[in-house]
Every structure is written in C-alpha cells, then in structure tokens.
C-alpha cells in the first residue's frame, strides 16, 4: 500500500499536470486537488475537518488582504484613476517612437505596482491599441514588451502580486520593508529593459502630438477624488502597520468597505468585477499544501534538499530563484510559492541561512520567470490575445526567441541583488 507522503505527492503532481495542460479553469483544478487532499487526509486519519479549517484560517490575513485589495483596485479602476493617469502621461509623448515606448513602459510598471497584472495589462493594452489607431503606427511589439514590464512592476510593492502577498505574510515582511527592497530592483530592471527595448525599436518620428482630455475617462469627479482619498489612506495605514500592527488584511478590508460606502459605486457591480477564481484557487491551494505538510511529504522533500545544500548553502538562494522562475514559465506562480514556503522555512532553520533573502529569491523568481513563455503570466496571455485580435499570431517559440532574453537578464540581476541582501 502507498504511504501517505506518496499519496499526497501524487495528488500534488496530478494538480500540477492539470494546471500545465490547462484543461479546466485553474480554480476548478485547485478545488479538485483540495477535495482529494481532504478526502485522503480524512480517510487515512492524518487530519480532521478542524485541521482543514486551520489550513485556511492560518492564512486568513493574506486572504482578507487579497479580497480587500481587489475591491479597492476595482473601485479605483471604475472611478477612472488609472485611465486618467495613463492619458495624462501620453499627452506629452514627444515626437519619437522611442520616447513614446519609454513613457508607455514606465506607465506599465506604475500600473502593475498598484494593480494585479491582469487589470494593469488590460488598461495599458487598451490604451496602446487606441493610440495605435490614432497615431497610425504598428505597436504590436510594444504590447509584448508591456506584458513583460507588468511582471517587473509586479514585484515592486507587497500588494503588486499574489506571490508577494503570500510570501510577505508568511515571512513577516512588512509593507515598508517590502517597498525598500522591491522598488530599487524593479527600477534597475525597468531602466535596463527600457534601454534594451529602445535599442530594438527603429528611431522614427511620430506623426502628431496628441490632443487628449484625460478627464474624459472620469465619469464623476467627486467619486474620483473620494476614491483617491481612501486609497491614499489605505497606503498610509499599510506603511504605518509596522508600528500600529492592525493587520494588513483588516486595513485592506476596512478600505474596501469605506470605498464601497463612499465611492458611490454599485457594490453588486464591483463584486461582479472581482477575480473570484483567484481567491478560490488560493484557498484551495492552502488546503493542498496543508495536506502535503501534514502527510510529511514536504518534510521529506526539505530534508533531501537540506542534504544537497549542506555542501554549498549559497545554492539554496539560487535554487529558490531558479525553481520559482522556471516553474512560473509554465505553471501559475502561486502554487509554486505556496508549496516552497514551508520547504524554505525548514531549509533556512536547518542550515542557518538568511530566511528573508530566501523569501526574496522566491518573490523575484515567481514574478520574473513568467516572461520566458507566452503562457507564463496572465499579462502575456492577454498580450497574445490582443495581437490575435489584430490578426497577428505569435507562436510559443517566437515569443521565446524574441523575449526570453529579458527574464534571463532579470533573473541574473535578481540573483546578484539577492546575494547583496545576504551579504549586507
């Protein structure tokens, strides 16, 4: 008969295979995995239903933070804030295509820092398509670069992506601390990548300067100002949380409630706009990983890795970075990070490594590795969809050939940066 660690590992492997194949929605696959985990756990007497509740409730702050942030960003998007910022930035695009591309890519990083990747890409992509028509130039390449840049912005702040939230919460990295470490690397990667993009683009002049009224994207100015006030308050409270210790989840939910009351937006319509699939996906994965942990599978895996890293402990940082990076190119980065968290904690304690640096290597890998392939991140998939709509198909290999150089350089620099964190 199969032992418990093997059974739970097989469930995990099955879920990963289904995620890679993409036959069903990722949340459905994760829910199936959670169901199998619970059934096997109860059947084998490894845990009971109270334990399942603990698997979820021990991550309640992360779940609340994600739901709160989603409501805040959805409301801000409806108020037109991000469209307003985008239109304001492109008014003065200058007369060169290189300058224009640089402005759009900086805007992408800013949007991705505050919004989830999907929404950031939808806004920047929609703006690019509209400008393409207006300026009568082909911006297909720029759309792909924007997708890549959303993942650079996605590691800037704690609220920029789900892996950031999950890892920061598990390793007690506060909002300010996250920004202090995350922003410099993102800026370095942004500048270098803009230089690379500029070198690839032909230096051609733009036909016209744009006469755009940014306010036309805002339906109600009072809602717009109220939404900004609430958002700024939430960010200030996030920063102050290191002192006041209210809990990031509670602050985000408080901000979301304030937004729903004061913004004047219809709550039903805001709720409909939320990405519930991600929330179910996340909760299900907390159960799957809880089962893996209880069955002893993760302990066995961590012990094997510890044995390997004992010879060369520094390899543990590179391992986290590369495993998260390469796996994110094919699978959603959330399950990878959730699974590696307990393993990383075990290895750090066992080998006396810098726990926070290990956490950072996971964050960098999870965010940047998705750019290797067109299916590695949701923004890449959206970019491909936008190109398809324009009648342009980009194959897996074409993406890899043209754009894989970016994550290669990004991961290399992130590795050096992690090394600096360990040394300092």
């Amino acid at each position: 008969m199969l032992s418990a660690p093997i059974i739970f590992s097989l469930i995990f492997a099955l879920i990963l295979v289904l995620l890679v194949k993409g036959v069903y929605h990722r949340s459905v696959i994760a829910m199936l995995g959670a169901l199998l985990t619970v059934a096997c756990g109860l059947g084998l007497g490894i845990f009971d239903m109270d334990d399942v509740a603990v698997f979820i409730s021990s991550n309640s702050d992360t779940i609340l933070l994600i739901i709160g942030s989603m409501i805040l960003c959805e409301s801000l998007g409806r108020a037109g804030l991000f469209q307003y910022i985008g239109l304001n930035m492109v008014i003065n695009i200058g007369r060169s295509i290189r300058w224009f591309a640089a402005v759009m890519l900086i805007l992408t990083v800013i949007l991705a820092a505050f919004l989830e990747n999907i929404t950031a890409m939808l806004i920047i992509g929609a703006l690019t398509l509209s400008l393409e028509r207006r300026l009568e130039i082909d911006l297909s390449d720029l759309i792909c670069y924007e997708a890549i840049f959303t993942n650079i912005g996605g590691q800037m702040l704690m609220i920029s992506s789900i892996p950031n939230l999950v890892v920061a919460d598990s390793f007690n990295i506060g909002f300010s601390r996250f920004a202090i470490i995350g922003i410099p690397l993102s800026l370095i990667l942004m500048v270098i990548s803009i230089y690379m993009v500029a070198k690839r683009l032909k230096s051609s002049p733009l036909k016209e300067s744009l006469d755009i009224d940014p306010w036309s994207a805002v339906e109600d100015k009072s809602v717009f100002y109220r939404s900004i006030a609430i958002f700024v308050t939430v960010i200030v409270l996030f920063v102050l949380n290191d002192i006041i210790h209210i809990g990031m989840g509670l602050i985000a939910i408080g901000g979301a409630v304030a937004m729903l009351i004061l913004s004047g937006e219809d709550p039903e319509s805001v709720f409909r706009g939320l990405d519930w699939g991600t929330i179910f996906f996340l909760i299900s994965f907390f159960v799957i990983v809880g089962g893996l942990e209880r069955s002893g599978s993760l302990a066995i895996f961590a012990q094997s890795l510890s044995g390997l890293f004992q010879l060369m402990p520094a390899f543990a940082y590179a391992f986290n970075l590369l495993v998260c990076g390469l796996a994110s190119a094919f699978i959603d980065n959330v399950p990878i990070t959730i699974t590696l968290i307990p393993v990383t904690k075990y290895i750090a304690a066992n080998l006396g490594l810098d726990t926070e640096a290990l956490a950072w290597s996971m964050i960098f890998g999870a965010n940047l590795g998705g750019n290797f392939t067109p299916i590695g991140s949701p923004s890449n998939i959206i970019a491909i969809g936008m190109l398809k709509r324009k009648g342009k198909n980009i194959s897996f290999w074409e993406w890899f050939r043209k754009y894989a150089i970016f994550p290669c350089i990004h991961l290399f620099l992130a590795g050096l940066y992690t090394g600096l964190l360990v040394v300092t």
Binding site: L122, L210, I212, I381, I382
Partner: protein, 76 residues
C-alpha cells in the same frame, strides 16, 4: 481567462472608455427610412464613403449651429 487568446469581457469596457478619450466618437442610431432597400441600408454601416460624408455633415452642422447660437446671442 483562456489560454487560446480570448480577451476577458472587462477589456471591452476599459477599451471603449479609453477609445472615447483618445479618439472621441458618438454612437448614433439611424432608423431605416421608408422606401429604401434593407440590404443596401444595412451595408452603410461599413461604407467608408458614407461615413466620410456623415463626418462632413457633422462638421457643417456644428459650424452652422455655432454660427446660429452666436447670432442669437448678439440679438439678445
């Protein structure tokens, strides 16, 4: 979101708002006049020449109405 390149519904919502800001447009419903061929009428939606003519009409209309409102102001 599917991996086969379908864009989420949210995209249309965002795109139409931005499109309106970048290249302002209005959507007008023109009811089919009596006595015209239905098929020919429906084809007008994608007829560049017709759309160009409409564009010219809008310009002339706005020019005329601005002139008229100035005249009215002067009289009052």
């Amino acid at each position: 979101m599917s991996k086969n390149g379908e864009l989420p519904k949210k995209f249309e919502e965002i795109h139409s708002k931005i499109e309106k800001a970048v290249t302002p447009y209005i959507t007008v419903k023109i009811v089919m006049p009596e006595g015209v061929d239905k098929e020919e009428f429906l084809k007008l939606e994608n007829n560049d020449e017709f759309l160009q003519a409409l564009n010219g009409f809008v310009k002339r209309w706005l020019k005329r109405s601005i002139k008229q409102s100035r005249k009215d102001e002067a009289q009052n």
